[in-house]
């Protein structure tokens, strides 16, 4: 069974590169590498990434 980590309600898990509410970790990744951010913060980050992608 794959190891998975789940965020609390309303929160998003991230390690700075991967984002999710439930994440099935690949071999080599550790749960302690992840922390929670709010959905608002997540949306802000995604918006910035979107703008950056448009400029490519």
């Amino acid at each position: 069974m794959r190891t998975s980590i789940k965020a609390h309600d309303g929160m998003i898990l991230t390690n700075g590169e991967i984002y999710g509410t439930e994440i099935f970790l690949a071999d080599g990744l550790k749960a302690e590498d992840f922390h929670e951010i709010t959905k608002v913060e997540y949306e802000r980050i995604m918006e910035e990434q979107e703008k950056a992608n448009e400029n490519i």
């Binding site: 590169e17 999710g20 509410t21 439930e22 690949a26």
Partner: protein, 243 residues
């Protein structure tokens, strides 16, 4: 011959001439537009609002070498049906570029098989912002995992059916906005993930996974189901993120 018969005959003749005129116009346009079937470069060919299910009536098969922006911002709804109704084939297997092929085609719902095995590695914007898109019959990738499709389905919020053939092995894959993906589609995506790459993430809609793999109708527990666990077990080299 009675007068009524003559009128009927005259109308039939008129209709025949009218239809012949329409066909002549159709032939004149499409023979030129498709170079009597020899056209290979279809870059921007059917882009913009003037192209819809009424105006898109190709006469010849389209075996394209460039499909860049081919249907960008068009108003075609059912491309699969339109091709079938006109008895023509869209073949992208020799295309070297499909960038933004359907980009911002916000009305399109049905797309047939799209083969990108001959494309340069990045098929950027292929189905980007196709908000009404429900079905892509099949997306054929290279078997060496070099095709980059990570942002191919940005804003494809209505996507339900997509079968992927080939290997996803570069940059990961993100279809988190496709909350209605079917079980067959999700299964296809997971099965297409490269077995040899590392450090990559596939991001899926949690709503889609929980519904598709739910243990009973309405349970919404798909991500904890045995079926889901069995499916993703062989791809432990991938991070699978649900959001």
């Amino acid at each position: 011959m009675t007068i009524a018969d003559k009128i009927t005959r005259a109308k039939a003749d008129y209709d025949a001439v009218y239809e012949a005129g329409k066909k002549a116009q159709y032939d004149a346009f499409w023979d030129n537009f498709q170079s009597y079937g020899n056209r290979k470069d279809y870059k921007l060919a059917f882009s913009r609002e003037g192209w819809n299910d009424e105006t898109f009536k190709p006469k010849y098969n389209m075996r394209v070498t460039s499909a860049t922006q081919m249907f960008e911002m068009s108003r075609i709804v059912n491309l699969t049906k339109a091709l079938k109704d006109n008895g023509v084939v869209l073949d992208t297997s020799k295309s070297t570029n499909v960038s933004n092929m359907f980009y911002y085609s916000q009305h399109i719902k049905q797309i047939p098989v799209i083969d990108v095995t001959n494309c340069s590695s990045n098929v950027i914007g292929l189905f980007g912002t196709c908000r009404a898109l429900e079905t892509v019959e099949k997306l054929i990738l290279k078997n060496d995992g070099s095709t980059v499709i990570d942002r191919c389905f940005v804003n494809a919020n209505s996507l339900r059916n997509i079968i992927i053939e080939g290997v996803i092995g570069q940059n990961g894959f993100d279809v988190q906005q496709s909350t209605k993906l079917s079980k067959a589609s999700l299964t296809s995506i997971i099965n297409a993930l490269s077995a040899t790459t590392s450090g990559l993430t596939v991001t899926l809609s949690k709503t889609a996974v929980n519904k598709a793999f739910e243990t009973s109708a309405g349970a919404g527990d798909g991500s904890t189901s045995a079926e889901w666990q069995i499916l993703i077990a062989p791809k432990s080299n991938w991070t699978i993120s649900l959001i």
